[in-house]
Amino acid sequence: MKRKRSGSRLPFFFRLPDQSIFRKALARRENADAASEFEELYQLRLARDGRRAALGWRRRQLVHLWIRLAGEALRRKLFERNRPARPTAQSAGETMSNILTDLRLSLRALLRAPLFSLTVLLTVGLGIGGSTAVFSVVNSVLLQPLPYSQPEELVKIYTASPPSRWPFSVADYLALEEQQTSFDRVAAYNYGGMFLESGDEVERVSAMPLTWAYPELLGLQPLVGRVFEAGDGRVGAEATALISHGFWMRKMGGDPAALGRPIRLNDRAYTVIGVLPSQMGPLEHSREVFPILQFDTPSRKGPFFLHIVGRLGEDVDAAAAAAELRAINRRIFPIWESSYPDERASWGMQDLREAVVGEVGRPLAVALGAVAFVLLIASVNAANLLLARVVRQRRALAVRAALGATRFRLARQLITESGLLGMAGGILGIAVAAGLLRLVEVFGADYIPRLQEVGLQGPSWGFAVVVTAASSLLFGLVPALEGSRPGLERDLGSQGRANTEGARPRRLRKALVALEFAVAVPLLVGAGLMLASFSNLAAVDPGFRTENILTVGVEFRMSRYPRMSDVRAFWDEALPRLAALPGVGAAGLANGRPPNQYPMSNNFNLLDRPTPPTESQPAVPWVAINPEYFQVLGVPLLQGRMLRETAEDADIEVMVDNTWARRFYPGEDPLGRRFTSGGCDGPECSRLVVVGVVGDVKYAGLGDSSQGTVYTLQRLNPTNWTYLFARTERDPDLVLPSIREVLRARDAQLPLFSVSTIDDLMAENLQSPLHASALAGALAVVALLLAATGIYGVMAYFVQQRTAEIGIRIALGGQPSSVLWMVVGQGMRLALWGLAIGMPAAFLLSPLLSGLLFEIAATDLLTYASVALGLTAVALFACLIPGLRASAVDPVKALQSD
């Protein structure tokens, strides 16, 4: 502002000894006229009232003016400096340029401290990325509705006899379809492999046989052609099939003329009537062919292999529908009672989404919670780093405050800085999330349903933005408030210790570090439990020697092996030749495959202790084998003898495993015990007799506690598919070609499937818990590292600030060890506070994990104790470094430097 008038040119009116305040006021251009008007008034008085009166008037007016101006200056001093700038008072352009200035300043400041910026950026970016990735999975898998039309009306219907659930039989399904009134429609499907014949080649494709109503029920629209109609489902109608988009492209080159063409599946010709779109729902995903299911009226109730979906009718209450299901089940019970006497089993239903998502809901929710905790620690750590930085910058901030920067202005600058970091962290986070999702797609494919729907979609972006904003706010606000706190100017005065942290920020930083420890505790406990659970699982004895066992699935098609004797003849010829192959030790057969596959679970009734009719008969895995199978696996014969072929009318020999023997005949001899099976209790039913007991083998997954197993002789009742087991003396892969050659020597078209070594199957079985515990472990390690750096940072800073004080202590005869313990003690107090808060929190959160753990309690004392010890040790280590540095302070140097 230019000074309009110098002192000498002021009108007479203002010619006073001290004119500064008037000059200041009149220097403003808009007050120029006021000066001349004052003068005019004075002249008027002078003319009218005389000199004496005019001078008196002038004096009074000047006093008045002085008071006004002084009051004005005072008011400005008091209020304007600390008054937040009102955005309304600024033009938009001004605001914009202020923001740009802030951005420029912040960017410069951040680039000046690259290590600091990079640390914050990485911590926050990883936190945001991890939580966004897990949220994306949770969102797509758990939160998004199923990609079917009106998915909220869809339910899955099943047979229930708590705690188990199993599918429907044909008899069940037909009765349900005929009698139900609650559903718009019901449909059945099942999954399986089918053999596709094209020319001389036979290929196993993944199939999903459907009843005709299925596509319509779920609202599937064909890409080409049509879906099934009621006529397709009638027995005797031409067999039709839908195919997947992938199958259409792969096998038919995407040719629309493929419609109407037959394909041969399992020796039956199906006419292709439609192609489904490439994006399919979780039920159909990765299935290639969808042949029609047509049902004859069944002669008995079982077997149970049909999955049922239903669409609830409009305005039908779910509870009423469930009641109707139970009623129908009760109504048809007497019809099948002779073959199926289990009265307790009823029908139930659940939301289809729940059924699809199944068991992964809880692990995913826990994972989301865990990454959120890590993000919290990361943000707190960033807040801590920023706070330390603000304290270092205090003098610069104080100078700015003294030069007239308002508190708002300073806070805005600091918030811009952290906002910039946060935004960069968010962008990094999105990239990290995209990378992590790739990993999830690769590693999670086997156990996360709906994975094909997972991606960085709208809600994920929204989540990333919200998380970024929230964490920026968290780690930006605390330092900003602290850095712009009034009273900064005082810091200018305290020359010597201008860089020293005040009591307030120090307390804040300590609280933040304690918080980091507190949050890390549940993560570490969770990870510890998961790891212990995994090692328990990995240490489970599968019951046999797993190495060097090759398994090959073999299927006998009805067209080529119409009679059981044909299959028998095949093996009679092939097995000796297989066993004689160089490199093969032994070859056996079984239609179940450890560690997680068995063909069926069968119920039975012990003759000497029959199950009362009102109770469910015990049911256990039922595996058909040949005796060499035990030899291949190395399963020991504990009692009795191996199975032998018996005459038609004699009792059928079976073997049982050790668990079965102990479960049903504890402390007694199980040999010679007899039972009937499959619900058949009459005199016409064949009896089974136990002739031997073998060691336990897991068939229902490593984590499953065995219920016992019954082994029957495969030769007596050859199945149309089985697994060949071969113990090889060298790498199984090297032996595979010669095994294939022997099998195909007799039947060049013999379909082989699912070739795998037992070791691979075991690893596969451990994959999901391995990934889960690896994830938990990684999160816990990150949390631990962050907490450790947090406590290290605070203590190192403490020592740096107190170097002079420590120097004096030592100079006055203080022991270095007492200095060491002072530093370590201060740090450890924080860690212990964290533990004191974190331990109960972990204990309260632990029930969430209980369903995910194998043979370890969620409240396992050892784990908690190890975590407490481990955390204490890490904290001790992190405090020892600055502590040792403090105890080694040279008093002379320390005092000189300050």
Partner: protein, 109 residues
């Protein structure tokens, strides 16, 4: 913007300008006020209030070049705006209503 009621001094100044023909500069206003109220007025206060009234949009000012180059005095003329008249009318209405039937009481007292 500010629909607040007029302060008393603002009120008086506006009335003075009205009496002076709706447009005037500070000196006649100060004299008018002194004449009508019978008291000495702080000129600084008048200047400040005139500015404030201008900010409120009740007055508009213009600088008048000196007719007489010798004295060289620049005068800032303030003119009443329609909003000022509205406010004056409104405040008169309110005051009249408030004075209804109480004048006699005051006179008797």
């Amino acid at each position: 913007m500010s629909r607040r009621q007029l302060g008393e001094f603002e009120h008086r100044i506006l009335l003075s300008i009205l009496r002076l023909g709706g447009e005037s500069y500070s000196v006649p206003i100060v004299l008018e006020l002194e004449e009508r109220t019978g008291r000495e007025v702080a000129a600084a206060a008048v200047f400040i209030v005139l500015r404030r009234l201008e900010e409120k949009g009740l007055l508009r000012s213009r600088l008048e070049k000196p007719r007489d180059a010798r004295t060289g005095r620049v005068r800032r003329y303030f003119k009443l705006q329609p909003a000022a008249l509205r406010q004056l009318r409104e405040s008169r209405r309110v005051l009249m209503r408030l004075w209804e039937n109480v004048e006699t009481v005051l006179d008797e007292a």
